[in-house]
């Protein structure tokens, strides 16, 4: 029974496996081409053209890119999300790390209750989260104002110019702190028991074990969480876009780079320039994410 199959020669089964491999991968790849590669390629293509009053759409080389780099509105948006990134991401990841370590410590009452409830906001759409927090901050039936009244103090207007970025940071933290906590917690659970035993035999206490055993083991998961958070910060759109209705004077159409690209394409009808802005934003995101990865890898080598 098996003899003929072997005698048929090595190429046949190999060929069969190759064909099957390609066939299984193909459906995903077709969708990937249509949904990711094609829009990207089309945006890059568009970014090299300009709409002129006279002459219609003409090839303009890097003109859109030189314009984007010196565009003050785009620059201000980039700076704003960079500031957001530098403050919000560390705060969120530190809270997530603390929660994951606490739940893993075995010293907590009801650990699974905390794990599930802190994760829950992740399932709430950004739109609902933004509407809900926006109303809580707001002056109509806002909770912040009600608490201020009850305490007899003037509550700060959390949707004013000076508070807005922090208010959005709070929404994003609320949405994603539990998600990051679960990723870090999953990594903690995978630490082999022998490492704990060895550390305990060396007389290490709980804090010492957290510092020398758990934190090093968390490094890959922390890096993944950081990179996803960096990408999320640069691409900030949903929350400020929703809040724009509630605070139109504070959130301009160029509040974040993504909002700027959106308003250029839809309100300004500047499709080619919008494509260039989207491409530059993508490049900045990739470069920063990549730089963080390399810096982390280098530091690991020197340690």
């Amino acid at each position: 029974m098996t003899a003929p199959a072997v005698r048929a020669g090595l190429p046949r089964p190999f060929l069969r496996l190759r064909v099957a491999g390609y066939a299984f991968f193909l459906p995903f790849f077709v969708v990937f081409l249509v949904a990711v590669v094609a829009p990207l390629a089309y945006a890059i293509y568009l970014s090299f053209f300009q709409d002129r009053m006279i002459g219609g759409t003409v090839f303009s080389g890097l003109a859109n890119y030189t314009r984007a780099i010196s565009d003050a509105l785009f620059g201000a948006g980039l700076l704003r999300v960079a500031l957001f990134l530098v403050v919000q991401v560390p705060v969120m990841l530190l809270i997530a790390l603390g929660c994951a370590l606490a739940i893993d410590s075995g010293r907590l009452r009801w650990p699974s209750l905390f794990r599930i409830t802190i994760f829950m906001p992740y399932a709430v759409p950004a739109v609902v989260s933004a509407l809900m927090w926006g109303y809580i901050y707001g002056d109509q039936f806002g909770l912040v104002g009600q608490i201020g009244d009850a305490l007899g103090v003037a509550a700060p207007n959390l949707m004013s110019r000076s508070w807005m970025l922090g208010s959005i940071g709070n929404m994003v933290t609320w949405e994603f702190v539990g998600y990051n906590m679960i990723i870090l917690y999953a990594a903690l659970r995978a630490i082999p028991e022998e490492l704990y035993e060895a550390a305990e035999m060396d007389g290490a206490g709980a804090i010492r074990i957290a510092w020398s055993v758990k934190l090093p083991a968390l490094r890959p998961a922390l890096l993944v969480a950081t990179i996803f958070s960096i990408i999320g910060s640069f691409q900030l759109f949903n929350e400020p876009n929703i809040l724009q209705t509630l605070a139109p004077a504070v959130i301009t159409t160029s509040y974040t780079p993504n909002m700027y690209a959106y308003s250029l394409a839809f309100n300004g009808q500047q499709i080619n320039y919008s494509a260039a802005v989207a491409v530059v934003l993508g490049l900045v995101t990739v470069v920063v994410a990549y730089a963080v990865q390399i810096l982390t890898a280098r530091r690991e080598k020197t340690l």
Binding site: P27, F28, F32, A43, S105, A123, A186
Partner: protein
Amino acid sequence: MTAVAGASPAAHRSSKAKRRRSPTLTVIMLVMFGYAVLPLFWLLANASKSGGDLFSTFGLWFGGDFHLFANIGETLRYNDGIFVRWFGNTVLYSVVGAGGAALLATIGGYALAKYDFPGRKLLFAVVLGGISIPGTALAVPTYLLFSRIGIVDTPWAVLIPSLCSPFGLYLMRVYAADAVPDSILESARIDGASEFRIFRTIALRLLAPGFVTVLLFALVATWNNYFLPLIVLNTPTWFPLTVGLNQWNAQANSGTSGAGDATYSLILTGSLLSIVPLIIAFLALQRFWQSGLATGSVKQ
């Protein structure tokens, strides 16, 4: 397989459970619990208020009479039941989009993990690059491309991008490498089973926990999708919940007071209704996504 993998950490936990509980730690975590839950409680409390109570009573408790079911009826009936239509659209986009995405990622990840074909490493690298390009960055380019092809303002414009989950493929590749032993595939081949049959009858069952994880996260991504449908859809009858709710919000804030106040109740109730299905899905399937996420984040 997951039962075995889950057993050893549980045993390791029980030996640690003898440690003294720390009240301080529990109190700190109770604060986090409040942070996570109180806004949702606020939503429930205020979706249960009559229009007058919403503005006159304290936010973190229920109003004079319990108005939740009246508000739900109002929300479902408003504007000839447009909310029901939006809910149906979201279900359609999520079930087809997330179900398709999870299936394609599972088959593709299985191919990359278990079949050796030329270009496999390169293709995987390209897809990994795709992970770092988030949906929001692609939204404007996707709109430009789709309007060129002429499929904007149709469900396809939302569905096609939803079918693609590079992160799901990555997760399934890692998962399939361990979950499907080569020896099983070999013996099935010796028995003369076709590759498709091997996938359908053997591999798919072994990949189920990973599949459910990818499905859940794709479900969240499509259910919560806002930017893409906002851009590619114009006709309100094709809107998903997210875009619809924001349209109501814009209506409520458009200045014409009086009409606005009643709309707030609709938005709060609609928001509450729109988050219930996902929360139930996560609670019901927590065993799956927690073990699936562990695979993705630990193995690099």
